[in-house]
């Protein structure tokens, strides 16, 4: 390993976002189901949320002056990495409870890993963020792990 990752960078592991609490509405479920080309009536009518509805529900809403010139919101959970070009990422999502209109859900994101691997054309940095989504009874509804690769 070439040692791109400093001790200081590693101290960011464990950083948490502020909890984000959102309400699920039938209208938002319907819009998402239509936009994704879903064909099942229960989702198109908004009776229940399709599996990836938490993606729009918890997408960061930032003000216009906080967007980069290419229209991206900056993830404030992330430290400055020595590599900056993002490559493909992956998602691992576990579903524990159904989501319906009227549900209040709270997400909290934690930076859980930063590591380095040798790629074909140099070192790559990987990081992982776990987002836990809980209902108002503190029960885990969804756990999502995002893995991102920087080169």
């Amino acid at each position: 390993m070439t040692g791109l990752i400093s001790e200081e960078l590693l101290t960011n592991i464990g950083r948490q976002s502020k909890p984000q609490r959102e309400i699920v509405t039938r209208r938002d479920i319907r819009k998402y189901a239509v936009a994704t080309g879903n064909r099942q009536r229960k989702y198109l009518d908004g009776d229940i949320a399709p599996p990836m509805f938490h993606v729009p529900l918890f997408w960061d809403v930032v003000e216009l002056d906080q967007l980069t010139p290419d229209g991206v919101s900056i993830d404030t959970l992330l430290p400055k990495f020595p590599l900056e070009r993002a490559m493909a990422g992956g998602l691992d999502i576990e579903y524990l409870k159904p989501i319906r209109p009227g549900d209040w859900l709270t997400s909290r994101r934690t930076l859980t890993a930063i590591y380095e691997k040798a790629g074909r054309s140099g070192s790559l940095i990987f990081y992982e963020i776990i987002m836990d989504i809980r209902n108002d009874d503190e029960e885990l509804v969804i756990r999502e792990k995002t893995t991102r690769i920087l080169r």
Binding site: P51, M52, D60, D70, A88, G90, L91, I93, T147
Partner: protein
């Protein structure tokens, strides 16, 4: 539920040909303002893409839809794992595929390999879906 679950069984494929209206509505439903998804001169001239780039998680949604439509009310999805391996663009026809790789009849637990295939035949988003069939008494 057709076909019946068994290891090696392929579920019905589905083709997606998203246009820029669908892509706009998708990103609007997220509040995603990334220019590569709606600003064609920016996507092509500044970023060097051949067209408007489809949003990665939209492909993730199509991965489970193939399984979810097959399950209907007979079961539920318990996990979704996938990665985005390559960019895809408005105008492409993408095919969502799924085949059963593990099935335990006693518990109803299923593991299903899924993928999004582009017109060149490359799998641009491989993944695995976990699902569970409800017991008849449920």
């Amino acid at each position: 539920m057709t076909p019946e679950p068994a290891v090696g069984v392929a579920l019905p494929e589905r083709q997606h040909t998203p246009d820029n209206v669908q892509l706009m509505l998708y990103n609007a439903s997220l509040w995603n303002g990334h220019r590569i998804h709606f600003d064609l001169p920016y996507a092509t001239e500044v970023e060097g893409y051949p067209g408007l780039v489809l949003a990665g998680p939209m492909l993730g949604d199509w991965l489970y839809q193939t399984v979810d439509e097959w399950l209907g009310d007979a079961g539920m999805i318990t996990s979704v794992s996938y990665s985005n391996r390559g960019a895809t663009y408005v105008g492409e026809t993408l095919t969502a595929t799924a085949s059963i790789t593990a099935y335990d009849a006693a518990s109803g637990v299923l593991e299903i390999d899924v993928g999004i295939r582009n017109e060149a035949g490359d799998i641009v988003a491989p993944g695995t879906i976990g699902a569970k069939l409800f017991a008849a008494a449920d």
